[in-house]
């Protein structure tokens, strides 16, 4: 069973650049057209099931706007994105 993950996107930083959307392997991200950040951007959000907590979105995010969670099943999760 694939790991289950979740992301939190900080509106203060997200500029709606969409790099995460394209990079996301299970394609669970889209810009939230119902929401505007204080700077007038549509921030990204998870819009369907399937996030695995792979953190590739956070890896490509130029604004460090994303915090990634991955459900711990057996082995402990690594502590930083991109470090392997």
């Amino acid at each position: 069973m694939p790991a289950r993950g979740w992301i939190e996107v900080n509106d203060q930083y997200c500029k709606g650049c969409e790099l995460c959307i394209t990079a996301c392997p299970p394609k669970v991200l889209e810009l939230d057209s119902e929401k505007l950040t204080s700077k007038g951007y549509h921030p990204t959000h998870i819009f369907k099931d399937g996030c695995t907590g792979c953190a590739i979105c956070a890896l490509v995010c130029p604004d460090a706007a994303i915090t990634v969670y991955r459900e711990v099943t057996k082995a402990p999760a690594p502590v930083a994105a991109g470090g392997d």
């Binding site: 969409e18 394209t22 953190a55 991955r70 459900e71 711990v72 994105a81 470090g83």
Partner: protein, 260 residues
């Protein structure tokens, strides 16, 4: 469902410690932000944030000092390697970072860049190459590609009157003082991971006193190039990588022997 996942124990990635809370001024999708993030992550992982002194350039990254929670100084255009030299010579135990764009490093600052490398100055330069001058409105840079339209090459860079782009990493690699000179890219996850590894090796080079280190990062400028952030990634891959091949141009044997 999400309640159980969102739990401190499950946190796999968050905003680096080395960042301030200040949102960046960079355009949406600008890979300056990505480069900043990788540097902050590396400094945090090496546990040297509180020893690091940054030198900010003139260019889009002029405000880099607002984003890293470390000591920082502001250099005149192109002079960051000289300022970095001044700092490192009086504070040899510090870690000195010079973060520069292509105008700063390869145009007005070319002499400072070459001589810092020639002297084997134990500093680390992060060189953001996006083939254009962003902050001043999109003029030609020393790394602008032939035929590329900019505000000062409106009909495309004409090699007859405006010359050819400069491959800085290859040039600096000819200098004996250079310890680690590599070129990486920020256009997709695989290359971002490789870039981060290179940044780590660069800082390890400095920390071990093994000479001048520089990571040239091919970067996007969607505003200057007149494309969307997503299109800029493809543009980089299609146009810049052939002109600026990714690779390792100088790795001193002592650097290669480092166990990181």
């Amino acid at each position: 469902m999400t309640v159980t996942i969102v739990h401190p124990e499950n946190m796999v990635y968050t905003r680096p410690e080395g960042f301030t809370d200040t949102p960046t001024h960079y355009c949406p999708g600008c890979t300056h932000g990505t480069a900043h993030r990788l540097v902050a992550e590396v400094l945090q992982e090496m546990n040297i944030l509180d020893k690091t002194i940054g030198v900010a350039p003139v260019g889009c990254a002029v405000f880099a000092y607002n984003y890293f929670d470390i000591d920082f100084v502001q250099a005149a255009h192109g002079r960051a390697p000289a300022m970095a030299t001044g700092i490192k010579r009086v504070l040899p135990e510090s870690v000195v970072l010079s973060y520069q764009g292509d105008g700063d490093l390869a145009s007005i600052g070319m002499a400072e860049t070459v001589h810092a490398a020639a002297r084997g100055e134990n500093i680390t330069i992060i060189f953001i190459n996006n083939a254009i001058y962003g902050m001043t409105g999109g003029q030609m840079a020393p790394t602008t590609l032939p035929g590329m339209k900019t505000t000062s090459s409106p009909n495309g860079r004409d090699v007859e009157t405006q010359g050819y782009p400069i491959r800085v990493s290859e040039m600096l690699a000819t200098l004996d003082g250079a310890g680690y000179i590599v070129r990486r890219s920020l256009h997709d996850p695989k290359n971002i991971r490789l870039a981060k590894k290179a940044i780590r090796v660069a800082f390890e080079t400095q920390v071990h006193g093994l000479g001048f280190s520089m990571v040239e990062l091919l970067s996007t400028c969607n505003t200057g190039w007149g494309v969307t952030p997503l299109q800029s990634l493809a543009w980089l891959e299609e146009h810049m990588i052939p002109a600026f091949p990714l690779g390792d141009f100088k790795i001193a044997p002592a650097v290669a022997a480092l166990k990181i």
